[in-house]
Subunit: 347 residues, 2 copies
């Protein structure tokens, strides 16, 4: 409610060319499964879910706050917007079925941006078996993309909540490497990486005075992480508790532990390989790779609690859940408190 | 992708107070029906629909583009965001069940704004039998609110599309008055109305040199229109074609007609009372009340095509669908072409 806004554009007679032209660039990229009864173009979409137990989540990316145009591409923004929402559905133990996308953009935004966002969203959604079934186009001062993802739980299937962890459970993460997104972000924020795009060619991550050969891949991983979300609706269904890793292992692990009225004790040895893989780059940037691994967000991998001995393939143990003592912190590393619990937009 | 954005805020250790405090103001206002298995607070919500045939739509309001803070209130913005999405579900012949809301706002936005948005959304959703089941909070330079609304179609029930109109059908509108939102917008854009709010009191529409006694009500109607959406999932289910009136009678009537490969001929006499009710105010503003009635958007009333003699209660006839001749315009008024077809964000 702050600022000094201009007048909104009044409703006025005009032709249909603007929005229709954009849709003409976007809609051909959508692929619809047989479950889509009504796709884009009417007031709402109609989609047949596998059951009436809808699972739904929504999330927004805003230019300048959630991404920097000079450090990513529209296609990667689309992939990221899809993946962070698909991950929330997967984290309930459900397979995503459908997405809707609301895109607001400044006047003069090239049609190619809308098209590339669509390609990125569609590619990631399809990889997880979901279709983009509808959306909204509007104006804003900054490119803003809100995706809502939907799936269903079968009858009799319990949603996998954050609160179901039990004392003695193994905390496990559905990714072979933690901290990549944070490392990529550090490259971007340190002014050591930007992304160049040219029509018809793959985007190029341009690095400045960086020797580590994995750096470009880390920037791309930050811009469009590619977690294996199928772990949520396959092995993850056996979890006592599950969530996706949005805000870092310490903060999200703490959320799961608190929701379960437990404490999580992280295992230093289990995380050492993740830290080791980032050590050279961290030295170049004068950063602490433990900070990236413990506190780095935007991985969107599944984080879940399993009974001991029952950690399914694709997950690897990173700690243990234990009964909480009075006034104990929710997260420990080898039995000791860990500073900081991640990111808060409004703190 | 334009502009000169600042660095995004890096993921960093912080406490939980900011977002948790906002949620503490917002969540107590939500009311959940028994259909909500999992509400806000986990990765995603779980909602039991009345069938697996999901109906879904999404829409965004952006400060400065879709509303002016000085001319509305956060509660009315919430109501409008809810109603425009609920209307799209209703326009398929489905009753809405659930909403999710993604709110992005500048740093320093008062918690009361988030609370009032929630109250407004909840009140309108509840009135139509729907619950707010989840959302997302984030940062943006301008207040931005994206709502996604969901409902379900029963097995065997056909969705009411825009394309089902038949020659000879009566085009009917589910509101006793057209043009109110456009008239309210004209007051705002002409600098003749603003809205004052003070804690604990009802908002006041402050008018400048306006004599028409309906003016304040028209501004409120523009800020938060209150169409009878139940017409969509009651009488509207018998319609051959239906949509909600977002962008004006001419443009939306034209869309329905084109989707049905027909022409709509609007009835001047049927619209004359709507025009008459706005004539005094239009004279004060040196405006054409026919323009408000024919082209004014943001009413969100149901617009539907029925077999002759089968227009249900709550709808009133405003025209007829006819076979389209070669190169004929999609919308006529008493057999003559009408200039302009409404509003396009990107024209």
């Amino acid at each position: 409610m702050a600022g000094d806004p201009p007048h909104p554009e009044p409703a006025r007679p005009s032709d249909l060319r603007g929005e229709a032209a954009l849709l003409g660039r976007m809609l051909p990229h959508l692929r619809h499964g047989a479950e889509v009864e009504v796709g884009p173009g009417d007031d709402a979409a109609v989609v047949r879910l596998s059951s009436p137990r809808l699972v739904v989540t929504t999330d927004t990316l805003v230019e300048g706050h959630d991404f920097l145009p000079r450090a990513t591409t529209a296609r990667w923004i689309g992939r990221k917007a899809a993946v962070q929402n698909l991950a929330d559905v997967a984290a309930m133990g459900a397979r995503p079925t459908a997405l809707v996308a609301a895109i607001s953009a400044p006047a003069g935004t090239p049609a190619a941006v809308f098209e590339e966002l669509t390609i990125g969203m569609t590619a990631r959604a399809e990889a997880d078996g979901a279709s983009i079934v509808g959306g909204d186009l509007g104006r804003a001062d900054r490119l803003t993309l809100t995706v809502t993802a939907m799936g269903a739980l079968e009858e009799g299937q319990e949603p996998v909540l954050r609160s179901g962890g039990r004392p003695g459970d193994v905390l496990a993460i559905g990714t072979p490497r933690l901290g990549r997104s944070a490392a990529g972000l550090a490259l971007v924020l340190g002014g050591r990486a930007l992304v160049r795009t040219a029509a018809g060619t793959a985007p190029t991550v341009v690095l400045r005075e960086i020797r580590d050969p994995s750096a470009a891949e880390l920037v791309q991983w930050h811009d469009a992480p590619e977690p294996d979300l199928s772990l949520g609706w396959t092995g993850g269904r056996a979890a006592h508790a599950m969530m996706d890793l949005s805000d870092g292992l310490v903060r999200d692990g703490g959320r799961l532990a608190r929701a379960s009225q437990l404490v999580v004790d992280l295992d230093r040895d289990a995380l050492a390989p993740d830290v080791g893989a980032l050590a050279d780059l961290a030295a170049e940037l004068d950063a602490d790779p433990w900070d990236w691994v413990l506190h780095g967000g935007e991985e969107h991998a599944m984080l879940a609690a399993f009974a001991p001995g029952e950690v399914p393939a694709g997950f690897r143990p990173v700690g243990r859940l234990r009964a909480a003592g009075a006034d104990a912190p929710a997260v420990l590393l080898e039995g000791r408190a860990v500073a900081g619990e991640g990111f808060d937009h409004f703190a």
